[in-house]
């Protein structure tokens, strides 16, 4: 059984009389331990897909099973708990809280899962070490470079040990060199067994993942799975553009 199973999911908005199908009958499986990308031009519905996969939004119809839980009919509170425990988000604009220092930002998800202060600190430091940012834990986000901020955001996404991490244009706000470092970090985390989904419009970035799903006009246009074909390039560190 796949970690995430999307079956015939549609998301329909109504603008006046016009019906907009942001997602139209999408079915996707994401296996545990996968490293994949969802790719598509802006307006294709990839963000909507990510929001639904990430339990930020619910589909108009269709079913989603995440880690054995049917989430299309979960209550908002249950969705919040799932986001907290099973999902980590990494955003294009980092989305760290500017008033908190890095350590406090990383501790934030555990506050909502009721972890005690001491354990919180311990786990947050461990997550920061994983992204090589432990020495900056007392800095405010504004005192860090873009790459460092994104690493802090990744540490925050990791800290509750989620089943899956969604990264929405994680390199979109970084220069290409820093962006590559972040992608490598994702690759490393995937190597440790974490399930990571990149959402991007950039085919070059999508190229680093062995699996790709292309979304166009709310539909799955193409599924590429290099692992099945034995064609996983698994680019060596530094070789990707």
């Amino acid at each position: 059984m796949a970690l995430v199973e999307l079956r015939n999911v549609s998301k329909i908005y109504h603008l006046g009389d016009e019906e907009i199908r942001a997602l139209d009958d999408v079915s996707i499986d994401i296996e545990a331990g996968a490293f994949m990308s969802i790719i598509g031009p802006s307006g294709s519905g990839k963000s909507t897909l990510m929001h639904i996969l990430g339990c930020l939004d619910s589909p108009t119809c269709g079913t989603i099973r995440l880690d054995g839980t049917m989430i299309q009919d979960a209550t908002p509170r249950q969705l919040a708990a799932i986001r907290n425990q099973k999902i980590g988000f990494v955003f294009q604009f980092f989305n760290l809280l500017p008033k908190l220092n890095v350590l406090q930002n990383v501790e934030l998800p555990m506050i909502y899962s009721g972890v005690s202060g001491k354990e919180r600190r311990q786990k947050a430091m461990a997550a920061l070490e994983l992204v090589d940012l432990a020495n900056r834990c007392r800095h405010r986000p504004s005192q860090l470079s873009g790459g460092q901020q994104q690493r802090a955001a990744i540490a925050r996404a990791l800290v509750n040990n989620p089943r899956i991490i969604f990264a929405d244009e994680p390199t979109g706000n970084l220069d290409s060199h820093t962006g590559e470092a972040i992608l490598q970090l994702f690759r490393k985390l995937n190597g440790e067994g974490r399930t990571i989904v990149l959402v991007t419009h950039d085919p070059e970035i999508a190229a680093v993942t062995p699996r790709r799903i292309e979304i166009r006009d709310g539909k799955v246009a193409e599924k590429v799975d290099l692992t099945l074909a034995g064609l996983d390039r698994s680019p060596q560190p530094g070789s990707a553009p």
Partner: protein, 509 residues
């Protein structure tokens, strides 16, 4: 929250860091589902404090409304409490609730034509009441004399100069400090003796504060409207508790100065507060002169010219003239108890209606009217003061709500982030609400402290002599109100924040 949580797959990734994984914590979160928020209150309050600290000046301004509201509520209640206490003290000083005063009154309109047959209140009524009014325990007839006192080369108009029976001493709650009260014999013989209050002494011979020692003018001659009287007794000095404290403090300070070797150079001078005679009610009581009822009748009402008596002359034995006026100015009655007041009033009325042949030329005045007046006044003062303080608290609450609304629209993105990493609607709701309550509680506590200063300030301006009394109850109520205002003010912003859609909130710039 019911769902089948699959056991972690064997290829599960997390290395050495975490063993239990998310599932255990998720079920823990599920057990929290009954609560509004899974975040501990201490953490939420901590976040609230941090948020307030991050906007120190703004938070202070917001709190100011609550501070003013709370302190004005406490100060108002202290002021009213002080007045209430003063009024109750004064009520006890004039003889409590079991007293009825019978006073002459103009005839009612339908009896106007009987005016020349109205007899007024006379000793006849006193005797009839003694015989038949069983609910009346004591009767004290009074005959007031408009008087000017003179002695020691000075003149003084007392508040009341009145001929009474000896029983008047206890009827009017007077206490003799020096000498004796005149007795039945003095009354029978219509002796020219009188008992004075300290105000008369103060005016004619000087007060202890002025002369530095207490003068007790027993045995001195006092001229009442030119008629010589011998002072045989003096009442104690009546004053409100706050006056007494003030006086004792001054005396202690003076003693301290004397002990330190500072020689007072002459009598202590009035320091410009002479106009204040303490509580007016108490001053009135001090400005009382009592003489035997018969003496008052013989000397001043019996048709004999009020002046023209040489010093030393004049005694009893004067026959009442044909033009003598036997009318009493009023009767003071004491009844068995407050609980029989209506019955006693009816009884007295029946007796008097019979002695007055149905002409209603009298009226009753009870302290109950006064007590009612006091209560009404206190209630009104409390209501209006409470209303004003309540409005200022409300304005403070609106201030909080305003700031919280502004604050959440500044923090839309933050709320989106918090939601995306797992904050439930309840968590956000509680966070904003707690922030609002923390502002209100801080403001409330500061307001309580400020109220003591405000009370002192008001006391120095206050027209009354009644020191404001800050009660624990008023502090508690004011604080509870501030917390309540904080909760109410936080509700709307908290609901608004909690309802934000995380996706739109994350996109918000």
């Amino acid at each position: 929250m019911k769902r089948a949580v699959s056991p972690m797959s064997s290829e599960a990734f997390h290395g050495s860091r975490q063993g239990g994984g998310g599932d255990g914590a998720l079920t823990a979160a599920a057990t929290h589902a009954v609560h509004l928020s899974s975040v501990s209150l201490a953490t939420t309050v901590g976040v609230g404090f941090r948020e307030i600290w991050a906007h120190k000046f703004r938070s202070l301004l917001t709190m100011l409304g609550i501070i003013l509201g709370v302190s004005s509520l406490v100060a108002m209640s202290a002021l009213v409490k002080g007045m209430e206490k003063g009024a109750k003290e004064a009520l006890v000083a004039v003889g409590g609730l079991e007293k009825i005063r019978v006073e002459p009154q103009d005839l009612p309109t339908d009896q106007r034509h009987l005016k020349d047959q109205a007899v007024g209140i006379t000793m006849n009524d006193v005797r009839a009441l003694e015989r038949t009014a069983t609910l009346v325990t004591r009767i004290s007839p009074e005959m007031r004399v408009p008087a000017t006192l003179s002695a020691n080369g000075k003149r003084f108009r007392p508040f009341v100069c009145v001929g009474v029976w000896p029983v008047a001493l206890e009827m009017t709650e007077h206490v003799l400090a020096h000498g004796r009260m005149f007795n039945e014999l003095d009354d029978e013989m219509a002796r020219s003796v009188c008992v004075i209050g300290t105000a008369t002494r103060d005016e004619l011979w000087g007060s202890p504060e002025e002369v530095g020692r207490e003068i007790i003018p027993i045995g001195e001659t006092l001229y009442i409207n030119g008629v010589p009287f011998t002072i045989i007794g003096m009442f104690q000095h009546y004053e409100s508790e706050s006056d007494r404290k003030r006086r004792e403090l001054a005396a202690r300070e003076a003693a301290l100065q004397a002990a330190a070797g500072v020689q007072p150079t002459g009598p202590v001078r009035d320091r410009g507060r002479g106009g204040r005679r303490g509580n007016f009610i108490f001053w009135l009581k001090n400005a009382t002169v009592f003489m035997p009822l018969n003496t008052a009748y013989m000397k001043f009402r019996s048709g004999v010219s009020l002046t023209g008596f040489g010093p030393g002359s004049g005694g009893g034995g004067l026959v009442s003239g044909a033009t003598g006026d036997p009318r009493l100015s009023n009767l003071e009655l004491r009844i068995q108890g407050v609980e029989v007041l209506p019955e006693a009033l009816q009884q007295v009325r029946n007796v008097l209606m019979s002695t007055h042949r149905g002409i209603e030329d009298f009226t009753f005045r009870t302290q109950e009217d006064w007590a009612d007046n006091i209560n009404t006044f206190i209630r009104n003062a409390r209501l209006s003061g409470g209303l004003i303080a309540g409005i200022s608290l409300l304005v403070g609450g609106i201030g909080i709500m305003n700031i919280m609304l502004a604050s959440i629209s500044e923090r839309v993105r933050e709320i989106g982030i918090r939601k995306s990493i797992g904050a439930a609607t309840g968590d956000i709701f509680v966070q904003i609400l707690v922030e609002s309550v923390v502002i209100a509680v801080l403001g409330g506590l500061t307001g309580l402290v400020a109220s003591f200063g405000l009370v002192r300030l008001i006391a120095s301006f206050s027209p009354t002599d009644n020191a404001p009394i800050v009660t624990a109850l008023s502090l508690g109520v004011a604080f509870a109100f501030s917390v309540g205002v904080g909760v109410l003010a936080g509700l709307l912003p908290a609901v608004k924040a909690a309802r934000l859609d995380p996706i739109q909130a994350l996109r918000y710039e």
